[in-house]
Amino acid sequence: MSQQILVLCVEDEQEVRDAIVRDLEPFSGYFQVEAAEDATAAQEVLGETLSKGGLLGLALCDHLLPGETGVDFLVELNKDSRTAAARKVLITGQARLEDTIRAVNEAGLDNYIAKPWKREELQEIVKKQLTEFVLANVEDLLPYVNVLDGVRLLEEVRNRKSDT
């Protein structure tokens, strides 16, 4: 793969974090799946990927975190031109209505997953969000046909590629 695409999970409870990473296992060969315990650690991981020329594809955030909240973190990502294109998902049980509204309006939230989640549901949402991301931001779609929504990617390949 020419360019690393980061899938970043931010979750403070270790067990929950491990569960999310385990559920994202199918994507790990194609994307760089990383987990962080809070917004500061997440920024570090993100900074490293960006400095190597990688992209943030998906941020999957809990809301209640020590320090900066998940919603604030997502709003920050949305304001930064380097990460604005990333798909943003809240995975939480305790976001108040006004936080959620702020996430939709100011962070461009793409999906809200209520805890507890089902593995298939999480995988479907991640697949859909990453498909949207690569369609909009990646030129060569073929490496992702096998792991994302292959039919949609191939229909777009049809418009992009020709005999050479």
């Binding site: 073929l142 046909v145 292959g150 039919v151 418009n159 590629k161 020709s162 005999d163």
Partner: protein
């Protein structure tokens, strides 16, 4: 910059300078200049250090700078009077064969916009039922026919999108999935042989042959090619069905079709049908395929069926790549470089069969690893000159056509053609299976074409005397 690219560019620069530093006996001054462009093109098209179409426009630019009537380093006096006007090199970007392709692109992009290809595929597949053997046959048939009129790549992508859900629904490890996935690129590559617009190498050959006084009509090309395409396809089908035999006895295809019936879509359907009909009946009305090809461009743009935004979806880079080849061919011919290169080998005592086989084989081998169009761009001009030289036992038509066919028969690796890469992306095909099946089909196709085609064409009166 990656190391590979840096090395490629250095090698290209060195290759480019060779004819400026060394003087080759019997090669004209003009020939030396074109030789340097030719060597540069060889290196850049093999390494893809810059995009293929970038090399193509570079070729056009260099030919204008070096050997046109406006050359910046003046040509020696004996060549100057008949130097080609610089406008003619620019004009390769609108060569008639490219206008034919432009028409094909507009039709194909409209077919995608109005989902005609997807809907037609489903209708045609309906009668093939649920037996894997017949479904593979149906898929190959539809893919081959579509790829005669659309790019092989677009066809393969469309058809893979249709079959991907079936492949995913098979039990894990079922070989049938690989068989289905492989049948599509192979049918697309083979179907591309069927018409002049099937794939760019055909057009490169037709354009060069027309230039040398051997025009081949759209329908005439189809008559020459399709019988052999059918034979190879049937063999490929039987082999795939046998090699990927599986326990699965029945598969379900989603064949619900919903044709779009808006006025714009109907205008497109009528234009499409009319264009194909006119292409097939050139003998009746005398309009060349390029002229016919411009009809859908005009009609669909004028009626707003094909919008300004759609116009930006045209694969201009493919047209540029072909133009680069046409310009290079013209430069090579005009400068006498071709005669000099061919003269390096004594061809006189080599039999027709061997020559034809050799040309096709070179095309297959080269285009297995590099772009099919680039392969045709480089070897069609040389092949035609070889055929035109005295004492050589093949006709220019044979040379051009076999090179084009050879380019399409290369399908042994995922990198060989974009359709192969698309099928490979499904994740169900191993490189090994693609190599086995692809090289067998390539070799079978090669044998069938060189053994049968020249005799059949002669019988049908399609081959001018050598």
């Amino acid at each position: 910059m990656p190391l590979w690219r840096a090395i490629s560019l250095i090698v290209a620069a060195i290759a480019f300078h060779i004819p400026w530093i060394f003087t080759f006996p019997d090669l004209s001054a003009e020939g030396h200049r074109v030789f340097s462009v030719f060597l540069l093109a060889v290196v850049l098209w093999i390494t893809e250090a810059i995009p293929l179409h970038a090399t193509a426009v570079l070729i056009i630019f260099l030919l204008i700078l070096f050997i046109s009537d406006r050359a910046i380093i003046p040509l020696p006096e004996e060549f100057a009077p008949d130097a080609v006007s610089f406008g003619q090199y620019f004009a390769t970007l609108a060569d008639p064969i490219l206008m034919l392709f432009l028409g094909g692109f507009v039709l194909a992009n409209c077919a995608s916009k109005y989902s005609l290809d997807k809907n037609l595929a489903r209708v045609v597949l309906t009668p093939f039922g649920s037996s894997p053997l017949w479904i593979i046959f149906g898929l190959m048939l539809v893919t081959a026919v579509f790829s005669m009129f659309m790019s092989n790549t677009a066809t393969a992508a469309t058809m893979m999108a249709v079959v991907l859900p079936i492949i995913r629904a098979l039990p894990p490890g079922d070989r049938l999935g690989a068989g289905i996935a492989l049948s599509i690129p192979f049918a697309a590559n083979l179907g591309g042989i069927g018409t002049p617009i099937g794939t760019p190498p055909n057009a490169i050959a037709v354009s060069a042959l027309t230039e040398q006084g051997f025009p081949i009509g759209f329908f005439e090309w189809m008559v020459m090619m399709i019988p052999f395409v059918i034979i190879i396809m049937v063999l490929a089908w039987l082999f795939i069905a046998w090699f990927f035999k599986s326990e699965t006895k029945s598969i379900t295809l989603n064949i619900e079709s919903s044709f779009i019936k808006t006025p714009a879509a109907i205008v497109f359907y009528i234009t499409f049908a009319t264009t194909v009909l006119l292409w097939m009946t050139e003998a009746l009305h005398g309009m060349s395929s390029s002229m016919v090809g411009f009809l859908p461009v005009v009609v669909l743009v004028a009626t707003g069926v094909f919008t300004t935004k759609d116009l930006q979806t045209i694969q201009w880079h493919v047209l540029w790549l072909m133009a680069g080849g046409i310009a290079l061919g013209a430069g090579v011919r005009h400068s006498g470089l071709d005669t000099w290169l061919i003269g390096l080998v004594d061809w006189e005592n080599i039999s027709t069969l061997l020559l034809v086989g050799l040309l096709a084989l070179i095309a297959i081998l080269m285009s297995t690893f590099i772009s099919n169009t680039a392969t045709a761009n480089l070897i069609v001009p040389l092949g035609l000159t070889l055929a035109a030289s005295s004492g050589v036992a093949i006709t220019p038509v044979e040379a051009g056509v076999f090179i084009a066919v050879g380019c399409s028969l290369a399908m042994a690796l995922p990198v060989s053609t974009p359709p192969n890469a698309i099928a490979y992306s499904s994740g169900v095909i191993s490189t090994r299976n693609m190599m086995i099946t692809g090289s067998l089909i390539g070799v079978a196709g090669w044998v069938i074409f060189i053994q049968l085609a020249p005799h059949v064409w002669e019988l049908l009166g399609l081959m001018p005397e050598p």
